[in-house]
Symmetry: C2
Subunit: 108 residues, 2 copies
């Protein structure tokens, strides 16, 4: 496992900070769904199994503040809001896929 | 990102299940520390920054129940207890390293 080691304890802090941002119950499933392309709020709400409106609003705000997603408002009636991954957000996909593969391998 | 896609929505459930097990605040930092070798409870408590005794006990029980770590008791006086990663637990390290690298890249 040598190639997997993180070299010093200072860097563990960063892991904790990463988890503060995307280690909750919903961020990674939301990122996974957005990896397929832009989505509206209602589409996300339908796609992310088990999430409720309040939690989705909170998560999206948090992810926007951390530059993981963008929120674009279109001046339609009623207004349309689309969410999309940023490059920073897309770069989380290998980690998410890797966690998912672990789940597949050990047939949870 | 095509190579990173998870092929169907059924599999998203598994991601959710993975996160139920190791998506909390403490599991991944504990796994990271145990990747360096077996550790006693007190050593882990000192190493995992910010954790308290109650949370560490709870996390270790949960991780043992999910076969991510083993708990070995030695008949010393007082008894010595050592925790170690299983193969299943070690296989989470690439995901953890990948999340950590993301944090490094975006200088949180």
């Amino acid at each position: 496992m040598a190639e997997n080691k993180i070299s010093n304890s200072e860097k563990t802090c960063t892991l904790k900070e990463v988890l503060d941002i995307i280690g909750g119950k919903w961020a990674m499933p939301i990122i996974y769904h957005l990896s397929k392309g832009k989505m509206r709020f209602k589409e996300l709400e339908r796609s992310v199994e088990g999430i409720n409106t309040r939690m989705l609003v909170k998560e999206l705000k948090n992810m926007e503040a951390n530059a993981i997603i963008t929120r674009e408002v279109f001046a339609t009636v009623p207004p349309t809001v689309e969410y999309a991954l940023t490059i920073k957000g897309e770069k989380l996909m290998p980690s998410i896929v890797s966690l998912h593969q672990w789940g597949q391998e050990f047939t949870l």
